[in-house]
Amino acid sequence: MEKFTTLRGVAAPMPMVNIDTDMIIPKNFLKTIKRTGLKDGLFYELRWTADGQKKDFVLDQPAYQNAKIIVAGPNFGCGSSREHAPWALLDFGIRCVISESFADIFYNNCFKNGILPIKVPKEIIDKLMDDASRGSNAVIEVDLEKQEIKGPDGGTVHFDIDPFRKHCLLNGLDDIGLTMEKKPEIDDFETRQKESQPWLYAAE
């Protein structure tokens, strides 16, 4: 996984509430067996009309075509567990989403892909949404180590993040590798469970 340390880029405003993962990447793009190449499906139905015309969605406007950050309305990423949602964001170049709140599964999936989801209170979102509306001047800087967001006017705000998740993102750590180090404890757990609940191992 790619490390996340600092990020400087244009932030795109998406004030809509409850942006669900069906919206982020519709089902017809879930038939892939790869993780890459999903940017074409990102927000597909919001970006394209049914007969293939561009709709002038925010990410297609000249100012936001290279956006690296999204400032979003609350409950971003609700619905389906599809990890294709963060894969599509990443493929487009989005490395950070800032919102008042996220759905749990999406939030979790971001960290597995080097995307930083930042939760901040409504008054900060309102300010950042205002900043993001300034087009290509909407350059925001995010520093994960310092847990700071710096707006285009130079003002900084602090954000909270779980220390373990921060550590993993900063160092690009692979969860599976970390857990593999716990193999003796997993073995012990299974030995005990097999004793107390043998029916869970009946098929083996």
Binding site: D20, K27, I33, S81, R82, E83, I105, D175, E190, W199
Partner: protein, 481 residues
Amino acid sequence: MATRKKAAVPPPPPPPPRTLFEKIWDSHVVHRQDDGTCVIYIDRHLVHEVTSPQAFEGLRMAHRPVRRPEATIALADHNTPTTDLSLGIPDEESRIQVETLEKNVAEFGVPYFGLQDPRRGIVHVTGPEQGFTLPGTTIVCGDSHTSTHGAFGALAFGIGTSEVEHVLATQTLIQKPAKNMRVAVEGSLPLGVTAKDVILAIIAKLGTAGGTGYVIEYAGRAIREMTMEGRMTVCNMSIEAGARAGLIAPDETTFQYLFGRPNAPKGGAWDLALGQWRRLPSDKGAHFDAQIDLNASDIPPMVTWGTSPQDALPITDVVPDPANAPDEARREAWTRSLAYMGLTPGTKLVDVPVDRVFIGSCTNGRIEDLRAAAEIVKGRKVASTVSAMVVPGSGLVKAEAEKEGLDKIFLEAGFEWRIQGCSMCLAMNADRLEPGQRCASTSNRNFEGRQGRGGRTHLLSPAMAAAAAIKGTLADVRDFQ
């Protein structure tokens, strides 16, 4: 010689009361970090074709085996045709995805229910049917509706593909414990009101993000009086309130359902298991971080009008007016929803015409759901303006329904009787709405484009869907009983 008097040892303090969630969590912690992050053991893993290819690919690249293939069941449900399986899967991308799953399960030795296997169904229907879902266990799947299995008192939640790979490789996940919420539905359900209406009423009350960060335990008389099918419907849609998992304490209804199922414990092991399962319910005085109370007698048959599952109203109500929305954000969301749904404020919900009816999905594709719909349909005809279909949740549900003659009731009324799968719940296969079509659907999500681009979804119970098929508009099932 004087005997030395033993110093009086005070009895150990009683263990603090725990919730059902805490009991399952505590019994699955493999490793706990100082910050509370845990490695928790996963007992059961369900795998389907859409969210697993990249996980198996990851294992292959890292030369890692599947740690416990026998704790896993794989099958294809999202992409599979519901009309004719003898032709294979005509859509090339869908076919490749299913073939990739077949190749992966063969390579990694994972048990697999093939396309033609009658046990194949939607993962959340098959798991319980096979007794693979058991009380007190942890269950995951790369699918948000894994919350369904919580109906058995199992901690079950959806995960992303990276976590699917993590579970395949290690049989564990890295997690922090959730908060506890108790939703109590007291009293008995009135006639015509089902588990689906209950969960829609709960989501309407809680909001689509109200359960975020929580595991919801459903309790109260109305829940206890539900069958396992009803309980699964309730837990299934926990995610639609933002909660990753829903839970219901296991009881005699649970045990009766499980007894004799292929993967349920047998003989002495059954008795041993029962002893443990009976200790699972939340202790008296256990702490819940939030509590919501509903009275069953206040819940009418429900239907959604908008594009979020929280947009649910009694069928007797009218399409709401954004001018009456509680805040600005909601006003914008309602306005957008109404434009998408093609609805005018003030229209009676029972006057909204429907083009399609879909009865099925992991929410409402079980035998009891089909029986409830058939009861309304029997001796009646689908309205001439409506195209209606029934898609059983599994091959075994289909077989049972056919044994009971339900297929004939549906066919005679003008419904299509299809082969099992996820079908038009998410429209990844050929079953989908055309732009502008309006559907009365027993599924779980009414998001924009969910059932097909431009399609308009109204969520409701199987009996309500049946009533809509007959009347040609959304309808109050109580007028049909």
